[in-house]
């Protein structure tokens, strides 16, 4: 199935092998191995199913780079079922979903996009007159592994947010498999999906993941710690108002509601569309879309996070952000590395900074901050012994829309006081 035979140049091919190694944080010495696997390995069949979805993850996959979807499909994968793409329709399409294990003795990978509705007996998503839930659990049960792409497949996403009417849940709640890889994001970064697939093609296993099934290579670091605007945060240089001078200088968006300090993803380094940009670089704060329950658990998009976070270089993966977002604290799955949390340095200003403050004054007041030593909370120090038995569970405890919005967001959004955070 040589890609080269199919018109992909050798040079392009080696370039992509190196790029994929970089995405996966594998040593460059893996590049030839990746090349060999993608070029020579038998095709891996892919069965792509949709629950309640907007199609954004399919689009992200179609637009992935390094490798492109064309390269993947022509060279290494066999997209045997994907309603967004396939020629067959009707019973001729769904018919191919039966007897998958017999058809693919070497196994197949299931990809699920979208959430799975459970209300009304599953009538909120049907395929060929059957509940999508049944189709998904059957197909995934026979798969080598399941990849949940996007936030909806991860934990129910937007259909499961406060106000949702469908009883939507993430795919992990309706299938029973130890081999579930979750690639949350709204939508998934297509490059992370392509890299996960290539990891499997190369090593015949999925990349190592955290307790929620998110691969470390993509969800192992805080956005805040990788952000190109981070230095401005350290220097107290903040955008105070949309379109102000600070925004034109590319200063930190923390005060405009950026959720980067609590969000784990590789957006700043991987970026999107051939590294053309990512949200914070473009000028709008992160909304935390890779985090469980982010629609309700992280406050409004323009609501400042409760406390300015100090630099936490060694906090890894799935720990802290959730512990700080009260509404979904029960989800915090803390990895061992979290116990290496250093003591926090916390900035404290002596008085509130009104919105109208001039930029120079703002910088001054922030520069007079004094450091305070704060001990991290117990939740943050929790170690692996605290991993819940059901990693993807506990979503029901989410606050209602009234609890979240009425309690947290005053109408006029007065400038929060930068005082010592109540950790």
């Amino acid at each position: 199935m040589a890609l080269v035979r199919h018109g992909v140049s050798r040079r392009t091919f080696l370039k992509f092998s190196a790029a994929i190694a970089a995405t996966l944080a594998l040593p460059m010495s893996y590049a030839p191995r990746i090349a060999a696997a993608v070029e020579n390995a038998p095709r891996v069949p892919l069965i792509w199913l949709r629950g309640l979805a907007c199609g954004g993850d399919s689009q992200a996959f179609l637009q992935s780079t390094n490798p492109t979807v064309g390269e993947l499909l022509i060279g290494a994968l066999s997209l045997d079922y994907d309603e967004a793409f396939m020629a067959a329709a009707g019973a001729d399409a769904t018919g191919t979903l039966t007897g998958l294990r017999a058809r693919f003795p070497e196994g197949y990978i299931a990809v699920v996009e979208g959430s799975v509705p459970t209300a009304d007996g599953g009538a909120h998503a049907t395929l060929g007159g059957r509940p999508m839930r049944d189709v998904i659990s059957e197909v995934c049960a026979g798969a080598i592994g399941t990849i949940a792409v996007g936030s909806c497949a991860f934990d129910g996403g937007v259909a499961a947010a406060a106000g949702g009417l469908t009883g939507a849940v993430g795919v992990g709640r309706v299938i029973n498999t130890p081999h579930l890889v979750a690639l949350p994001g709204c939508p998934v970064n297509g490059d992370n999906l392509a890299a996960t697939l290539v990891h499997y093609l190369t090593l015949r296993e999925f990349p190592p993941t955290d307790g929620l099934g998110r691969p470390f290579f993509a969800y192992g670091g805080l956005i805040h710690n990788q952000c190109e605007r981070r230095a401005h945060f350290e220097f107290g240089e903040f955008v105070q108002s949309w379109g102000d001078e600070a925004s034109q200088k590319g200063w930190c968006l923390y005060k405009m509601g950026c959720k980067g300090p609590q969000t784990f993803a590789n957006c700043p380094t991987q970026q999107y569309a051939e590294s053309s940009s990512w949200n914070v670089l473009a000028g709008h704060g992160c909304i935390g879309c890779t985090m469980p329950g982010f629609w309700d658990g992280m406050g409004g998009a323009y609501q400042r996070l409760p406390a300015p976070l100090p630099f936490l270089p060694d906090v890894s993966a799935d720990a802290i952000g959730l512990a700080l977002t009260g509404g979904v604290a029960g989800l915090a799955v803390v990895h061992g590395a979290a116990s290496t949390v250093r003591q926090w340095r916390v900035r404290r200003t002596k008085k509130p900074t009104p919105d109208t403050t001039e930029m120079t004054e703002m910088t001054d007041t922030t520069d007079t901050t004094e450091a305070a030593e704060v001990t991290p909370t117990a939740a943050i120090e929790t170690t692996e012994s605290a991993v819940p038995a059901e990693p993807l569970g506990e979503l029901e405890g989410r606050p209602t829309v009234d609890e979240v919005w009425v309690a947290e967001q005053p109408l006029s959004e007065p400038e929060p006081v930068d005082e010592e955070p109540d950790l």
Binding site: F85, G128, S277, G300
Partner: protein
């Protein structure tokens, strides 16, 4: 009389089902059913009005950004806020690139399989294909070695009998008419379209941070900022990553976007438009089939002035009974939805048409027990509501926009449409058809693509003059909002006219209703039992083989239906 069921209708943006009665080799009646429901209108409710667009945007990840646009426009309308010129141009570029990209994707990835047999294309002679392609277009990738390689790549996607994504086509169906060489030319461009679209995705990523779901909209403008006082300020201090892409309105990014848009336009002009006309020319009977109800609605798009109520590139209006010479003005107040045949309840007036500002979303599944094999004989059969304009079902989409703009005297549209009518040796009547929708998308892509580079030039010129404003903050401070306000936001997406209606109470969304282009086109029957646009267009469709109803897919996909959008 026999009943045909297609479930799923693949390549339709979500779960979609068609049932049709066939008599004497033609469809006598058809029912379109979306079989999934997400309830996003209900999720938007209760959230801060400034955040509403983030949720509303998730209606569609393919026609991405369109619902964000309609949503911020609705809040801006409620607050009476106009946006700065730069923001208007940036929004136009985002919306235009989505429109053009989706038209291309719809043609190659969704429609082409209905017109050209991919298995037959594998038997094409590359040299003959090259000669053929060169007689049609100047597109550079046209020599026989390129087509030989394209045939190899296509083989990997088809793999008849072995389960490639294109291998499951109804190969050998008598309704296929294009020669293998035409097929290889078209599928060669299919493969190129996969790569081509990333150019427009890059433009949207530069301006939107990512795509799908660009994230730089704000109530009052855009969050991207013009660079201040010259070159970018380098980040200070220790830094875990290096900035490896330029900010959105830097000289570098503006130059990149200009290059990307210019390159992208070439594929539209030299591949997409000639390919769509090739299909049209080979299927003359489809220039008569699939016309449907003959009423066309366009909310209009691409504001050329900075006021919400200002002038539009593609006009707002409607065409009734195919009378495109006399488009009529429209008023959003005449839009209303019925749920008589959809799985919802209305509180007070169950069989009424309700304006979206007063609309409700109360799902109540009333279909057969699962699993089921037929929806036949049921009153309620879809998750799509039935929108009507002044009581009439309407068709929306590229064809509607082209007809309204033509009637309104838009010279770009007139030249393009008249040129095609001449080339195809067909009258304007041939537009009222299945193939007319496909041709309209190609022409619209060409027109809009050309305007997009103009929007970028205007943006560059305006920035150079020192106008760096991208947001109007008049409406940002919620403390100054009225305690209650209502508004609407209209937009045009790839699939048609999009409207969002909302009520804000104490800064939060109290009511929210969305009517998408696919809601109009995919509508079920209404309170008076009249079918929606696609259902009506399917009547009369010939069916050569009831087990392989390829012809039905042609008309369904001609609407560029998105089931996820239609229901939301």
């Amino acid at each position: 009389m026999s009943r045909i069921v297609i479930d799923p209708v693949t390549r339709a943006g979500g779960q979609l089902r068609v049932e049709a009665e066939v008599l004497g080799g033609a469809v006598t009646e058809a029912w379109l059913s979306a079989t999934s429901f997400r309830g996003l209108e209900s999720v938007v409710r209760g959230r801060a009005a400034r955040d509403a667009w983030l949720v509303a945007q998730r209606v569609c990840g393919a026609a991405t950004g369109v619902h964000a646009l309609a949503s911020v426009r609705a809040v801006e309308n409620a607050l009476g806020v106009d946006i700065p010129k730069n923001a208007r141009l940036v929004r136009n570029i985002l919306a235009a690139t989505t429109l053009v990209q989706e038209h291309v994707v719809n043609f190659y990835l969704r429609e082409l399989i209905n017109w050209a047999d991919p298995v037959a294309a594998l038997t094409a002679d590359p040299a003959a294909t090259s000669t053929l392609a060169r007689s049609i277009t100047d597109w550079p990738n046209s020599d026989s070695s390129w087509y030989a390689a394209a045939r190899d790549r296509l083989t990997a996607l088809v793999r008849p009998g072995a389960g490639g994504p294109l291998g499951g086509a109804w190969s050998g169906h008598p309704a296929y008419r294009l020669s293998p060489e035409f097929g290889l030319m078209l599928y060669g461009h299919y493969l190129e379209a996969l790569d081509w679209q990333r150019q427009l995705v890059r433009v949207r990523t530069i301006l939107g941070g990512k795509s799908p779901h660009p994230q730089t909209y704000l109530v009052g403008g855009m969050a991207i900022a013009a660079e201040w006082g010259g070159p970018p300020v380098p980040p200070r201090g220790e830094h875990p990553s290096t900035r490896h892409s330029p900010p959105p309105l830097s000289q570098q990014a503006l130059a990149d976007m200009n290059m990307l848009l210019t390159n992208a336009a070439r594929f539209i002009n030299e591949a997409f438009v000639p390919d769509a006309l090739t299909v049209a020319a080979h299927y003359p009977e489809w220039q008569r089939l699939g016309g449907g109800i003959g009423h066309y609605l366009s909310f209009g798009e691409f504001p050329v002035s900075d006021s919400f109520a200002g002038q539009l590139l593609l006009a707002r209006g409607r065409v009734m009974d195919r009378d495109f010479a006399n488009p009529r003005a429209i008023d959003q107040g005449s839009v209303a939805e019925a749920v008589d045949h959809a799985w919802y309840d209305y509180d007070a007036t169950p069989d009424a048409l309700v304006h979206p500002a007063l609309g409700q979303t109360r799902p109540r599944y009333a279909g057969p027990a699962l699993p089921y094999s037929s929806l036949g004989g049921l009153d309620k059969y879809s998750w799509i509501k039935a929108p009507r304009y002044a009581d009439d079902p309407m068709e929306t989409g590229a064809l509607a926009r082209m007809l309204v703009a033509y009637g309104a005297g838009n010279s770009f549209v007139r030249n393009a449409v008249d040129g095609v009518a001449f080339k195809l040796d067909a009258g304007m009547d041939s537009l009222f058809s299945t193939i007319g929708r496909t041709v309209a998308r190609a022409l619209e892509a060409q027109i809009v693509m050309a305007r997009t580079t103009e929007y970028l030039r205007e943006l560059v010129a305006n920035l150079a003059q020192g106008d760096l404003a991208l947001v109007n903050l008049e409406g940002w401070d919620m403390a100054r909002w009225p305690s209650q306000a209502s508004g609407f936001g209209l937009a045009e997406g790839p699939g048609g006219a999009v409207g969002h209606w909302l009520t804000i109470r104490d800064g939060r969304i109290a009511d929210y209703q969305i009517v998408d282009g696919s809601t109009w086109n995919g509508s079920p029957r209404d309170n008076r039992g009249r079918p929606g646009a696609c259902e009506q267009a399917l009547v009369g469709t010939p069916v050569a083989d009831p087990n392989r109803p390829l012809e039905l897919l042609r008309t369904v996909h001609s609407f560029a239906l998105c089931s996820a959008c239609a229901v939301h």
